[in-house]
């Protein structure tokens, strides 16, 4: 799985960080998403999928199977 984030769409909600803190963080100053793990390990995939689903900016894209 590859994770791609679109900073321009991110509204700094931090919902992704609540769900998958190992994969996402936020910049200190404006809360924009920081991708910690572009290719997260298997055991994190379901949390990442959930984070992508709940992200209110639709800013998290997943490329599965790679």
């Amino acid at each position: 799985m590859k994770v791609i984030v679109d900073e321009a769409k991110c509204c700094g909600a931090g919902q992704c960080v609540l769900i998958a803190p190992e994969v996402f963080d936020q910049r200190d100053e404006d809360g924009i998403v920081v991708l910690l793990e572009p290719e997260p390990a298997e055991d994190r995939h379901s949390a990442v999928r959930e984070a992508a689903a709940v992200c209110p900016g639709a800013a998290i894209q997943l490329a599965e199977g790679s």
């Binding site: 769409k9 700094g12 909600a13 931090g14 919902q15 809360g31 959930e50 709940v54 209110p56």
Partner: protein, 401 residues
């Protein structure tokens, strides 16, 4: 569970569908929506779409192939018109009758209108992409926009319109704008920000009628007879849940579809998103939220509960919303409505950088921040989720460096 029907093809409906598939549901999945567009996002309508920063092509919530991969029976541009709860079927405007084992109601809300405003050029509401594109075309330097209602949608449009050089008058019936939603302090602060940006904000203003000539709007008449001239009028006086198609079905309706703590309205029938009024056990009260993240979280909770009736979990989120006005980001967690007290616990309102904490009874029930690093909110969110006592929360905050 072999046939799931979701009515409403926006954030709530689409995310429910995705969550069902992620959870392994392989049965028939029908998603019905009355808008012609594939599911798109609404918050940018009063932000990046209105400013022109984004093309409408950026609005879809998912790429076409991601939607394709869900294996949906996707029916766009067709409204649900009736529900037969006993017969477990929904009637559509095209005459189809769609049977279901599980039904998700995600029909959202529509803008409340002023009587007599139908079909008059220059009178706007803002809920759909088409609304946003129509309004955007009319916002040009030197034109006069009157906004009826100083809620979040009205305030965001005021900010964008000022940025585009439009003369803006914003009317609020109450003494302080947004006070119901965020309290008097935050409301007074926001009022000042809008005035500083040149918005003619009038509080205590009752609108009697919209005036026009030849099918086009020319102004707004106030209760005292004053007429405010306008090229355009945005009516932003709140919204009405889209539950018309459920009337007569026997489902409980009261400013939304009434659901229990599992988001269920009847056996096998769930509500998600703006349309659903459910009992949030975290705050011990019924609420109906018009927040983008809630639509997603509730959709995910509904998918879980629908698929595992024996292991249902109450939906008990900490609500979250944000709003962008001028260069400010406003963020709030919790249930602010009906609070007893709001206190600045960090920063300074005069500096336009602050964090307000909200007390209801002896509990911390919400926080709202302006201009603060968003990460500072996380600790507060955790305390709200834990039901922290007010005294404890405020003293913990004071002890933080």
């Amino acid at each position: 569970m072999n046939r799931v029907l979701i009515v409403g093809a926006s954030a709530g409906g689409l995310i429910t569908a995705e969550a069902l598939r992620r959870a392994g549901y392989r049965g028939a999945l029908t998603l019905v929506g009355d808008e012609p567009h594939p599911p798109y996002d609404r918050p940018p309508l009063s932000k990046q779409i209105l400013t022109g920063e984004w093309e409408p092509g950026r609005l879809p919530l998912r790429r076409d192939d991601d939607i394709e991969a869900l294996g949906l029976d996707l029916r766009l541009g067709v409204a649900a018109t009736g529900l037969d709860v006993a017969g477990r079927a929904v009637e559509l405007a095209d005459g189809a009758r769609v049977p279901y084992d599980g039904l998700v109601v995600a029909t959202g809300v529509r803008s409340r209108r002023l009587p007599g405003s139908e079909g008059v050029t220059g009178i706007h509401t803002l809920r759909t992409l088409d609304d946003a594109l129509t309004l955007k075309d009319r916002l040009r330097p030197g034109r006069r926009l009157v906004i009826v209602g100083a809620g979040f949608v009205g305030a965001e449009v005021a900010a964008v319109a000022r940025g585009l050089g439009v003369a803006v008058t914003m009317l609020e019936a109450g003494p302080v704008p947004m006070a119901q939603a965020v309290g008097e302090q935050a409301g007074r602060f926001l009022a000042q920000v809008h005035r500083d940006h040149g918005v003619d904000l009038r509080t205590g203003a009752a609108v009697r009628e919209v005036v026009g000539a030849g099918g086009a709007v020319s102004g707004v008449r106030l209760g005292d007879g004053t007429v405010l001239p306008a090229d355009d009028v945005l009516v932003a006086i709140g919204s009405v849940p889209n539950t018309g198609w459920l009337e007569g079905s026997g489902l409980p309706l009261a400013d939304g579809l009434v659901c229990d703590e599992f988001s269920a309205a009847a056996p096998g029938v769930y509500g998600a998103g703006d349309v659903a009024r459910w009992h949030n056990p975290l705050f011990g009260t019924a609420m109906r939220l018009e927040h983008r993240t809630n639509a997603a979280e509730q959709g995910m909770a509904v998918a879980r509960n629908l698929l595992s009736p024996e292991a249902r979990r109450p939906f008990a989120p900490v609500p979250y919303f944000w709003s962008d006005q001028y260069d400010m980001k406003i963020q709030a967690y919790g249930h602010l409505r009906g609070h007893d007290e709001a206190v600045v616990v960090d920063g300074d309102i005069a500096q336009r950088r602050f964090l307000l904490a909200y007390r209801t009874d002896e509990r911390l029930t919400g926080v709202l921040s302006v201009g603060m690093p968003p990460k500072t909110l996380r600790a507060w969110r955790a305390m709200i989720a834990a039901g922290a006592a007010w005294a404890h929360a405020v003293s913990t905050a004071a002890a933080r460096p």
